[in-house]
């Protein structure tokens, strides 16, 4: 089970955090700070896994963003790398060549996509098509509402 997922920039700015285990805000901040420092100080060719406290950290860098997951000792490290990759693919497909700015300005979307991929720290849906379908359905609902609103504003509904 995933304990948490963090996205942060090369400058050490946290861009997204998702916690699947309960911690106080203070602890979350401490963990985040420690991990960002640890990971940023590692060299490119190093192993993507590291033992940390009683869990294993799996991380990978995509352009300017680091994606970092904490998993339990028995979880599969390589497949966690691919959970990250699948998430990146989904973001990429949704935003169209995703970049860090997309995630900053549309952080809520990034959360919604993640919630379709992982629930309670476990993978819910591995099919890219199905996740994108679910997100598209959400967007349709929103657009309909927005259109209704606009029509109502000009007195057509």
């Amino acid at each position: 089970m995933l304990q948490f997922m963090l996205l942060f920039s090369r400058q050490g700015k946290l861009r997204l955090q998702k916690w699947y285990v309960a911690h106080s805000d203070k602890v979350k901040k401490k963990i985040t700070r420690e991990l960002i420092t640890t990971i940023l100080s590692r060299k490119p060719k190093m192993c993507s896994f590291l033992e940390w406290k009683d869990c294993t950290i799996v991380y990978k860098r995509y352009a300017s963003l680091y994606f970092c997951c904490a998993i339990e000792q028995n979880d599969n490290e390589l497949l966690t790398l691919e959970v990250i990759h699948r998430y990146v693919e989904l973001l990429d497909k949704y935003f169209g060549s995703v970049c860090e700015l997309d995630i900053i300005f549309n952080f809520e979307k990034a959360y919604f996509i993640l919630d379709e991929l992982l629930v309670g720290g476990e993978i819910q849906e591995t099919s890219k098509k199905n996740v994108l379908k679910a997100i598209a359905a959400q967007d349709v609902l929103q657009e309909d509402e927005a259109a209704d609103g606009a029509l109502r504003d000009i007195g057509l509904l």
Partner: protein, 934 residues
């Protein structure tokens, strides 16, 4: 940046741009505060706020939170959004709650009500939103509220697949919070049969749930094994086109495969049914075969997914530990990975091989890769990979390769990373002991360890070498000779002096025949190190010297001179002084016979498991790779001459408080078998409780009840204190008075209070002049801030030098116990007893009965309680002799109410003390502070 679908929020985008355009941190904070003020006023004043605006502001708050700022409002507005009939507003409400609401929020009831409504929705998107929220928060309340609905959603035929997926994982989350939530009976088989579902997504989610259920109740869910094997079999034999979108980079359903393989690791053996077993083995073979096929893609995703399944299959093979051919094939496969280009694969292969090394079937196969693993330890660029290589070497070590592996580890230790040295030392020590056929080799290895990495050699390691030498007669002479040689190095580690001192004290006679190591030479060699060592080592050396007097009467005079030198004031340390003078007396008054009996050779240590292993396990709980035969470890063998006499040192040091000398030579986890045999360790306790001298006045304990007075006094120095406390703050003035006729040099008081404790009680101390003139007094100011409740009190260590004399060190506890932050509280009988009853829980009360000081002094006790800081409440207890008090401890984090009752028993001359408070730690601490004080 692409335009985003859905409905954008312009105000939010503008705000985010503003923040990004801020040139400085200050500007950013200013902008944020402005926005917070704006949102706050909107939420407070503007009743006409529509859903869109609420959504926008809640979203802004969320963004501000994600930037790392605290958000303390807006929760109610977010909860309002949940009941909006617009999906976009509802969704933002749920997001805010998932990120910002903690499980014990007051709002949880409202949230639960909204979730209930959404679960009833006909729109699966709404239902999923509600399920995801439950999974995100997963509180006890939620588990109770939804224990009926969610299992129904999961197995009902009407539920859509997407909802089933969420329901499965939602139930898993609630099960983790509250294991009783899962219904049993017919539900079991319905849940298990989700493994047969048409929809791969449903199966994947359900497998996670079933894995957790199996862990709790393997017998009930046993039926899942054959279903899981069939499912796995269908996947591994599928071509990558069969599974369509569940194929990931040409690998069919890697997530589901891994989950199924994990699920099967819950049973051992996975099944009794030979048919199912055969099919499982076929699956595992197919996976191993596929590993040999050329890759279908050059992408790393393909290789990762494929190898993820392979590693999980190997985990299952290792777990079953029954198919030799599979185990050996797995080992060969991993061996190939050891020289793979990918660091990740090398890392995982080393880790996985550790487990293979412990199986009798594959142990030999693992050993074939020894050379590559040694190279990994030396050459890998990443320390975490080197660490894995060390672990594997440890795991693959046995009698046949021990000498080589230990030698390689020793060689590597000279340049090893600091972060892994300590652990390597432990590992080398364990291996050397376990596989020693010749104990001279063992002694060499340990002395090499001390030489190469002395700083990392923990006490357990050198205790152990002494135990072994004492128990094995054949190695004693060799050990004495070797330590003697090692001590001749110009700079040798203090740990070497300890081992050397001890061994020569016991067995120096065995090498005394050689004129190069004659008694006097041995003594001079040891004594040349004396002045460079810490007090603890010096004390050990003094014991060695008295043993020398017994072993070598001819050098008695020289040694007595040394004792004489250290028995007077020139020896700064009270323990050393005492030791020296008592040993001196012993050597003067005791007859040779008595001396020989008192200083007889140490008796053999009882056999027990190496305490080093316990240390290693403690260092890395759950991560210590087993060494193949580690369970056999039961050395050393006791030798023939078992003398039952108790030993000189145990008798002698009884003057020191060694009642709790439990961290003995013999092991960490087990209590000492007898009091004999605790030689070295008793010193440890002496040095943690300094000041046993007769002319010393140390009043720290009295200061629990008072704030001003003389805290400490001896012939050289007087320390007075004045202090005042308000709420959670305190101010102390310490007054150091020089009582001598000369100046005290290098006068440095330093605070002793661990960094961890300092988070709870922050103490600031001002520096003082390093010279304290004759007869002068200086003042030092301290401030203290109580942040959270804490135990004990900081102490201050004052080091200085009387001109021309030895350095002095005095440790004094500061009057900064938690009770200083009490505020006395008045209350009447009614509210006192109401509170008293409220605090009746097991963790909230503490009670102790103790003997009163003679004579029983009730007015004195009342004074003390007032001085303790609590309000003494009269006419509350029906018995006028009983004393009851109330007070509140102020810390920055919280206030802790505390009640006390002290009941004297005049006949028995006893007191009964009861403390009740809302915090267990505080209750205990207050009780400990007061017990035995009246």
């Amino acid at each position: 940046m692409a335009p985003v679908r859905g409905d954008g929020m312009r105000g939010l985008a503008v705000f985010i741009s503003d923040i990004r355009n801020c040139k400085s941190k200050e500007a950013e904070i200013k902008r944020i505060n402005k926005e917070l003020a704006n949102i706050r006023s909107k939420f407070k004043g503007d009743k006409t706020l529509d859903g869109y605006q609420k959504k926008k502001y809640v979203c802004k708050l969320l963004f501000i939170f994600l930037l790392g700022h605290d958000i303390d409002f807006g929760h109610m507005e977010a909860v309002n959004l949940l009941s909006s009939n617009k999906y976009s507003e509802k969704q933002i409400g749920y997001l805010f709650i998932s990120v910002l609401v903690n499980t014990n929020s007051d709002l949880i009831k409202l949230i639960i009500q909204s979730i209930k409504n959404d679960l009833q929705s006909r729109n699966p998107i709404h239902v999923n939103l509600a399920l995801q929220c439950i999974a995100n928060i997963g509180s006890q309340d939620m588990a109770e509220a939804f224990s009926n609905e969610i299992p129904k959603l999961l197995v009902s035929g009407d539920t859509m697949d997407v909802v089933k997926q969420s329901a499965a994982l939602c139930l898993l989350r609630l099960f983790r919070t509250c294991p009783d939530i899962i219904p049993g009976g017919e539900w079991t088989s319905r849940i298990i049969h989700l493994l047969n579902d048409q929809h791969m997504g449903v199966v994947t989610a359900a497998t996670s749930l079933i894995d957790a259920l199996v862990k709790k109740n393997p017998e009930e869910y046993k039926g899942c094994v054959s279903l899981a094997v069939s499912r796995l079999s269908r996947i591994v034999t599928a071509s990558y086109t069969d599974l369509q979108d569940y194929t990931y980079y040409f690998v069919p359903a890697p997530w589901l495969s891994v989950k199924l393989l994990r699920l099967l690791q819950n049973y051992n053996p996975p099944t009794e049914d030979p048919g199912v077993r055969g099919r499982l083995n076929e699956c595992l073979e197919t996976i191993l075969n596929k590993a040999q096929e050329p890759p279908k893609s050059k992408k790393v995703q393909h290789s990762n997914a494929k190898n993820a399944v392979l590693f999980e299959a190997i985990n299952l093979i290792i777990h079953n530990d029954s198919e030799p051919s599979l185990l050996v094939r797995a080992c060969n496969q991993l061996g190939q990975f050891l020289s793979n280009r990918e660091t990740n694969l090398r890392y995982l292969a080393l880790e996985s091989m550790c487990h293979l090394a412990t199986s009798e079937f594959s142990h030999e196969a693992v050993k074939k890769h020894q050379e590559v693993v040694i190279l990994s330890m030396k050459m890998e660029k990443d320390v975490s990979v080197r660490q894995q290589a060390v672990d594997l070497l440890y795991a693959m070590c046995d009698r046949s390769n021990a000498e080589e592996i230990v030698q390689e580890m020793l060689n590597y230790l000279e340049t090893a990373d600091y972060s892994i040295r300590e652990e390597m030392v432990l590992k080398v020590a364990i291996l050397a002991e376990k596989y020693a056929t010749d104990y001279t080799w063992y002694v060499d290895v340990i002395l090499n360890l001390i030489r190469i990495a002395g700083d990392y050699v923990s006490e357990e390691v050198w205790y152990r070498v002494i135990q072994i030498v004492i128990n094995r007669e054949e190695v004693q002479g060799y050990a004495a000779k070797t330590v003697f040689e090692a001590l001749q190095a110009p700079a040798c580690h203090e740990n070497m002096v300890k081992v050397g001192g001890y061994i020569l004290g016991e067995f120096g006679n065995l090498i005394a025949g050689d004129s190069r190591s004659a008694p006097m030479v041995q003594f001079k060699l040891l004594h040349s190190k004396y002045h460079l060592c810490s007090s603890m080592t010096r004390a050990l050396l003094l014991s060695t010297y008295i043993k020398f007097i017994n072993l070598f009467p001819e050098i008695r005079g020289t040694i007595q001179d040394v004792f004489r030198q250290h028995s007077n004031l020139r020896s700064a340390d009270a323990e050393l002084q005492q030791r020296a003078s008592e040993y001196l007396q012993l050597s003067i008054v005791a007859s040779t016979d008595v001396l020989a009996t008192v200083l007889e050779e140490m008796p053999s240590f009882p056999e027990r498991e190496s305490s080093i292993l316990a240390v290693l396990k403690k260092k890395k709980p759950g991560r210590v790779p087993e060494n193949a035969e580690i369970r056999e470890t039961k050395s050393p063998v006791p030798n023939s001459h078992n003398n039952a006499h108790s030993n000189a040192q145990t008798n002698h040091t009884s003057s020191a408080n060694n009642a709790n000398a439990s961290s003995d030579l013999l092991g960490l986890s087990t209590p000492p078998a007898s009091q004999s045999g605790t030689l070295i360790d008793v010193l440890g306790d002496i040095y943690s409780t300094a000041n046993g001298n007769s002319n010393v006045v140390n009043n720290s304990k009295k200061f629990v009840f008072k704030n001003n007075g003389v805290l400490f006094e001896n012939d050289l120095l007087q320390i007075g204190v004045k202090s005042e406390f308000r709420q959670n703050l305190g101010r102390l003035g310490l007054y150091y008075g020089n009582k001598t006729q000369t100046a005290l040099q290098n006068f440095v008081p330093t605070l002793q209070w661990s960094a961890e404790d300092a988070l709870k009680l922050n103490v600031q101390i001002k520096a003082v002049e390093p010279t304290l003139e004759a007869g002068a007094q200086i003042q030092q100011l301290l401030t203290a801030e109580c942040i959270d409740h804490y135990l004990g009190a900081p102490s201050i260590v004052i080091s200085f030098r009387v001109s021309g004399g030895a350095p002095q060190k005095i440790t004094v506890n500061l009057p900064l116990t938690i009770n200083k932050f009490f505020e006395p509280t008045e209350m009447n009988a009614e509210s006192f007893f109401a509170r008293w009853r409220n605090l009746g829980g097991e963790q909230q009360r503490a009670q102790r009965v103790f003997k009163a000081q003679q004579p029983l002094d009730l007015p004195g006790a009342r004074n003390k309680l007032t001085g303790f800081g609590m309000q003494l409440l009269d006419s509350i207890d029906p018995n006028p002799d009983n004393m009851v008090c109330a007070g509140i401890i102020h810390t920055q984090a919280h206030k802790v109410g505390c009640l006390l009752r002290l009941e004297p028993n005049k006949q028995a001359q006893m007191f009964r003390l009861t403390i009740r408070s809302s915090l267990e730690a505080v209750t205990q601490e207050i009780c400990d502070l007061l017990v035995d004080q009246f």
